[in-house]
Symmetry: C2
Subunit: 260 residues, 2 copies
């Protein structure tokens, strides 16, 4: 068992626990919460992989006992759809709607409109904590390496481009599966940190992840970008590629930028 | 009352009806189904506008009596989140998770990473039905005008670019509100029709719409694009801009491409 498997374990009755140390500034990371929920809901679905899953973030996740609840809305030949939630004793932390299936099928590419990001080798990229203004507990569990040109935000030299790219692996070498992709979708610093605007906490309203394939072994390449910041909100789009150069996940979140 | 208001009416008890004529090849359009559900769920939420809403498509929508059911998961100061469904007598047509609020706030742009599509005037664009190989019932209700360079799919001269842009208005002149944006998110021909691949029915698995602002009066500009077609699936991303040039909605759907 790896740290991630321990921290996302869900018993058959839905009992689980938000582990300490998977946080940013004391609140459990949104991708980590989604991974716990997805692990519980895929059991309810009886299917191995999330295919498309949306989470609405309603309350901070604090370490301690939690529960995944859910019900199958439809179980078909290829997919099963489940509505559910991750709940603590007194409230819903995230509400989730997901469709699950088996994503081990053929990976053949028919059309790739944009290639993976061009990244220096992992050893030449910057560990996220080295580029952080405050301790990010989560980063002791992960090996997130940012593209050097995207790390200026930590020293106040912002690139002016709302993009954050880099490598992701688990610190303990755990293979990346489709559950790991849930975590990855929210594991990088916000792309808007590289814009010349006051940047602080960027709370996620909603996060959707599409799993396009099971990742091949090895670290994955990630790119997160924001195109539109207005009306006090922003979207962040992510892509994750495996070591074979196959797009394995896409993500999109809607988040608040309270200062605009 | 406009045709769209009639066709998306939901009584306080959730009773509603899928109207005939809002279909493509006999099945109700997915955006139309989402608009009905959003209208019911925003009443349950007690908030005027969808902010971010995800729908999983589980069964075809056929004309006749239906019901919107839902429950408030959290009601906060700014947003209310509702889990619900559009159901016929014997099954769930779409399962929906949405967060609702008031999107009449300031529209000021802080960062626009990509401008609206450059479109000829509406009168110089092509009505969708004129560019369709088969009758699209929905199009008698809508005034969808495609950018001429995107209409080659109808005559077999595909552009090779998975993009579909154009104008949208209601045929009866009804103003476009945030409910109308639900319909717009699925009202254009699939962008992959312009790729040199066998193109047929492209069933939506899941569609998420972010409403960024209430549209100003007048037709809206739309652009839909697909970047990745593989593993038998594709994503389609959409943007909708109002007559002031403000981005009012973004959409993303995951769909099947059965022939790959």
């Amino acid at each position: 068992m790896s740290e991630f498997d321990d921290a996302t374990h869900v018993a058959p009755d839905g009992a689980c626990e938000i582990y300490d140390g998977w946080d940013i500034g004391g609140n459990a990371n949104g991708g980590y919460l989604l991974a716990i929920a997805a692990n519980g809901l895929r059991q309810i679905a009886g299917r191995p992989d999330p295919v498309t899953i949306s989470a609405h973030f309603l309350a901070p996740g604090k370490p301690g006992p939690t529960t995944v609840t859910g019900e199958v809305v439809k179980s078909g030949r290829r997919f099963a759809t489940v509505s559910g939630a991750l709940r603590s004793a007194d409230r819903t932390i995230i509400q989730v709607l997901g469709t699950f299936g088996d994503q081990s099928g053929p990976r053949g590419d028919l059309m790739i409109g944009e290639p993976p990001p061009d990244l220096p080798p992992m050893a030449e990229c910057s560990p996220r904590n080295a580029a952080s203004a405050f301790p990010v507990g989560l980063m002791s569990k992960l090996d997130v390496r940012l593209r050097p040109s995207d790390t200026g935000f930590a020293s106040g030299v912002k690139s002016g481009v709302a993009e954050m790219a880099g490598w992701f692996a688990f610190a303990d070498g755990r293979p990346i599966d489709t559950l790991g992709l849930m975590l990855i979708a929210d594991a990088f610093p916000p792309a808007v940190f590289n814009l010349d605007i006051p940047a602080g906490w960027v709370p996620t309203i909603e996060l959707t992840v599409h799993v396009r394939a099971r990742p091949a072994p090895g670290p994955v390449r990630c790119r997160f970008r924001t195109r539109y910041v207005h009306t006090g909100m922003l979207e962040e789009d992510g892509e994750v590629w495996d070591s074979d150069g196959v797009l394995v996940a896409q993500s999109r979140q809607l988040a608040l930028l309270p200062l605009t």
